[in-house]
Amino acid sequence: MMRVGSLLIAVLACAPAAAQEPNSFAPEQIRLGAEIFARNCSPCHGPRMQDPEGAFDLRTLPAEQHSRFVNSVSHGKNSMPPWAGLLKAEEIEALWAYVMAGEK
């Protein structure tokens, strides 16, 4: 299992995740989110969030919907199963950072 670096923990601890500016996430956090996404999310939401086919298009997720995002990922929605037992809270935050930062 991937461990989140202490730097990232520090960043998370002192920065509220909601409504954060896309460019204010730590690169390590975005990178971790991208890795988790590529492994577990891309099969439905599309590689690098492109071509999500039937799943929700994460590129359209508004920045003020952090709590909706965390709730959906943690507890599941439609065909999406609950991920809370498998992904740690900081890993779900890393996914949020990746989704907000977007693919460059």
């Binding site: 492994r39 086919e53 039937g54 065909s79």
Partner: protein, 557 residues
């Protein structure tokens, strides 16, 4: 056959009209009132000689009853019928129904934790049950095998096949072959090591396990890296019910893709992934095997129905096993020994130019080589296959296979493989839909000659592929269904749709036909679900979820 005699005697002593025998299972179809096996016969032909409903009368086909299954997860199963009672499964319940009235006799729920769908790659479902000697057998999403009392639905035994949190799940319909209950497993997308199990149907005692990926020291393991444990997470699931030849006493099971999909950590052929295994049902011994896609790097499962038939090959009658493989080729093998007879493409194929009949191996193209070298390729068929699981039918009268096929490519590449983690995805690919050339349909209904793989006819489907099995009948009809909810009857000679009925949800299941009191019925489940819903939810927003059973008959004059 000794066992048959013993079981038959026991059945008589028990006096149970519920206690069907191995002999009845073997001759499924000879009594048209019953549908006792997955595939409507051990050969998985999905063919019935019944002809009361034919090209002329089908226009008077009307629903006679419908029953709600109260399930939002999708219905894929094939019902079974025995002595006027129908047995239906989905992921959430097993149900017994009075065929005459459509009334529910009993319903036994299936419980699993809400997290379980995390390890289900492609749709929360159940493909169906097996029935034998007074019991209904099924598998559960969280990897248990269960026996229920056929009369009451009460649980008789329950055995854990595997730990779901390690990435396993079960949707497969069990098979009774030679008195043994046989089940497979799902989970190659989560890096499981696949297996097929044999159980004692009476007690639930575990009789044998055939790992589909051989261990160190076993034949076949040499096709895996010897300096890593890649084989321990090598995939090769078995999620579609095998066929069975009682004369040869061989059961034929297809195996799924090797894991992970990206192949860089597992150079080699990776036996016995993407293969057919001919097994002895009493021991699980592999009598012969054939690998369709050596070193599969495309998710080309080989689990689809392995249809048995005796067909004319160059003037001699051969016992064959046929498969419309996900990789785009139609394979015909001698089922006595696994010898390859024919392998021709039935759809557009870009990864191989042909199958060499001498070696039995595909002749790879630059697409295969470039993909292995790390490049993005345009892969035909796409990872979802030229055909997915919706089963084909074979009509022995016409000698043709009838199938719902797909015409899609993928823009596809491998990405870096990370270490296996229990319950996490183990695929490591980027996979997008390739643009379809203008004027080409994304899917078809096909009537296909087994030896040439050429279509007798193709009926293009311009909106959605069909994810229902085909049913072929002696009335010259095919029955199948649409994601948009229509249950349809098709002229088997032309591919023309002759009749349709709008059910309440999508139809992605397996129709059956049978008689009661001399009247022919057709039954199918409705309930949108499965992989196609997962990948096309936005295109199906006007198709509501919710399971139900629909039964049809010709309206009397």
């Amino acid at each position: 056959m000794k066992i048959t005699a013993v079981v038959a005697t026991l059945a008589l002593l028990g006096g149970g009209a519920l206690a069907q025998t191995l002999d009845e299972l073997r001759h499924d179809g000879s009594n048209p009132d019953n549908v006792l096996t997955y595939g409507m016969g051990y050969s998985l032909q999905r063919y019935s000689p019944l002809r009361q409903i034919d090209r002329m009368t089908v226009k008077r086909l009307v629903p006679v009853w419908s029953l709600s299954l109260d399930n939002p997860w999708g219905e894929q199963a094939q019902p079974l019928v025995y002595n006027g009672v129908m047995y239906v499964t989905d992921a959430k319940a097993s149900v017994a129904i009075d065929v005459a009235t459509g009334r529910q006799i009993w319903k036994t729920p299936v419980d699993w934790l809400p997290e379980t769908p995390r390890v289900v790659c492609c749709g929360v479902s159940s493909k169906g049950a097996a029935i034998f000697n007074g019991k209904v057998f099924r598998t559960t999403l969280d990897s248990y095998v269960v026996a229920l009392d056929q009369k009451t639905g009460k649980e008789i035994w329950k055995q854990k096949a595997a730990e779901w949190m390690d990435g396993t799940s079960m949707t497969v319909a069990p098979l009774i072959a030679g008195g043994v209950l046989i089940t497979g497993i799902s989970g190659a997308e989560f890096g499981i090591r696949g297996f097929i199990d044999g159980w004692d149907p009476d007690t639930g005692k575990h009789l044998w396990r055939r790992d589909t990926i051989p261990a160190r020291g076993e034949p076949g393991n040499e096709t895996w890296p010897q300096d890593t444990d890649a084989w321990q997470h090598g995939g090769g699931s078995a999620w579609i019910t095998g066929s069975y030849d009682p004369d040869l006493d061989l059961t034929y099971w297809g195996t799924g893709n090797p894991a992970p999909w990206a192949s860089q950590t597992r150079p080699g052929d990776n036996l016995y992934a993407s293969s057919v295994l001919a097994l002895r049902p009493k021991t699980g011994e592999i009598v012969w095997h054939y690998q369709f896609t050596p070193g599969d790097q495309y998710d080309y499962d080989a689990v689809w129905e392995l249809i048995l038939a005796d067909i004319d090959v160059a003037g001699s009658n051969r016992k064959v096993v046929m498969q419309l493989n996900r990789n785009g080729f139609l394979y015909v093998l001698d089922r006595t020994n696994g010898q390859l007879i024919s392998a021709k493409p039935y759809e557009k194929v870009s990864w191989a130019s042909e199958i060499d009949l001498k070696t039995g191996r595909p002749v790879e193209t630059d697409v295969a080589r470039n993909l292995r070298a790390g490049q993005e390729v345009e892969l035909w068929p796409s990872t979802r296959g030229a055909k997915n699981w919706p089963h084909a039918a074979f009509n022995p009268q016409t000698g043709l296979l009838y199938a719902n096929t797909m015409h899609r490519g993928a823009l596809y590449r491998h990405i870096e493989v990370k270490p296996w983690v229990a319950g996490q995805r183990y695929q490591f690919v980027e996979n997008r839909v390739a643009p379809l050339p203008p004027g080409e349909a994304p899917a078809h209904m096909d009537a296909i000659d087994p030896l040439t793989a050429k279509p007798r006819w193709r009926a293009p489907l311009t909106d959605h592929p069909q994810w229902s099995a085909m049913l072929a009948t002696g009335g010259g009809l095919l029955f199948t269904g649409k994601e948009t909810g229509e249950f349809i009857a098709v002229d088997a000679e032309t591919g023309k749709t002759l009749w349709q009925f709008q059910t309440g949800s999508g139809v992605n299941a397996m129709p059956i036909t049978y008689t009661q009191n001399g009247r022919q019925y057709v039954t199918v489940l409705s309930g949108l679900g499965g992989l196609y819903l997962n990948t096309n939810r936005q295109q199906l927003t006007n198709v509501p979820l919710g399971g139900s059973v629909w039964t049809f008959a010709v309206m009397p004059d």
